[in-house]
């Protein structure tokens, strides 16, 4: 069974609740393990929060799209926004091999997403950022 869902989201972090509720329903329908469900939650949390907080000028209201395609073997999330161009894959990975005193606090979000998902792709097409996250379910 393959299912598809599209959410039109406002650039407001409160929208994450809707996203995570949908992920939870989908995971239940596809018998996704709790470990993989955690990874999907974390990945969507990080990328949706990034778009909601940073893609558009503060105080302006915009919409962006999250499209999910889920089969028994694959989970694919496509996030499309027309905000400021941002290639998260061009972001340098944090240096993990330094002592605590030198460790930077930030920059872990996208790094985590890249580690926990099977693949992450970015495209800038027609003034839009398109980020595609894929996770193998089986």
């Amino acid at each position: 069974m393959t299912e598809q869902a599209t959410l039109i989201l406002k650039n407001d972090v409160a929208e994450l609740e809707t996203v995570l509720a949908l992920i939870s329903e989908i995971c239940a329908r596809h018998s996704v393990t709790p470990e993989i469900e955690y990874d999907l939650n974390l990945a969507l949390d990080e990328v949706v929060t990034n778009v909601a907080r940073h893609a558009y000028p503060a105080g302006s209201e915009h919409q962006f799209t999250l499209e999910l395609t889920v089969s028994d073997v694959d989970f694919v999330a496509r996030i499309e926004d027309d905000g400021v161009a941002f290639d998260p894959l061009g972001h340098p990975a944090p240096n993990l091999d330094v002592p605590l005193e030198e460790r930077k606090e930030g920059g872990l979000g996208i790094f985590l997403v890249r580690q926990i998902m099977t693949s992450v792709e970015y495209q800038r097409v027609g003034g839009k950022n398109i980020l595609t996250l894929r996770k193998k379910l089986a």
Partner: protein, 113 residues
């Protein structure tokens, strides 16, 4: 959303957290922990037994607390971390920077070593 409890056991301040340390949760967590640190507590154990989720904002909070305690000569221990969070800590390289022990009892015992 998170809730928490605090208790002092000998010289150790135990902060038990319940819920999700996400964007909102991390903000509440930092406010609470800053208050504890500002009151001069140097030995802090965070009981993670009932923490179901952490994201990068929560990890950032843990790094900030660990740095602050290290610079003041204190000690910071996490206890009762569930497997999914343990995995996130490992990916982030925090498992080697923080003291993480399986249970609150082992965490408390580590302060007297």
């Amino acid at each position: 959303m998170i809730t928490y409890y605090g208790e002092k056991i000998d010289q150790v301040f135990v902060l038990g957290v319940n819920g999700r340390i996400d964007l909102d949760g991390a903000k509440i967590f930092m406010e609470e922990i800053n208050e504890i640190l500002d009151s001069g507590q140097q030995y802090i154990l965070i009981d993670f037994t009932d923490v179901a989720y952490i994201n990068s904002t929560g990890l950032r909070a843990l790094i900030l607390v660990a740095k602050r305690l290290k610079s003041s000569g204190g000690k910071f221990v996490l206890a009762g971390v569930i497997d999914s969070i343990q995995k996130v800590l490992k990916i982030s390289g925090l498992d080697s920077l923080l003291t993480i022990l399986p249970t609150k009892a082992e965490g408390l015992a580590s302060f007297s070593q």
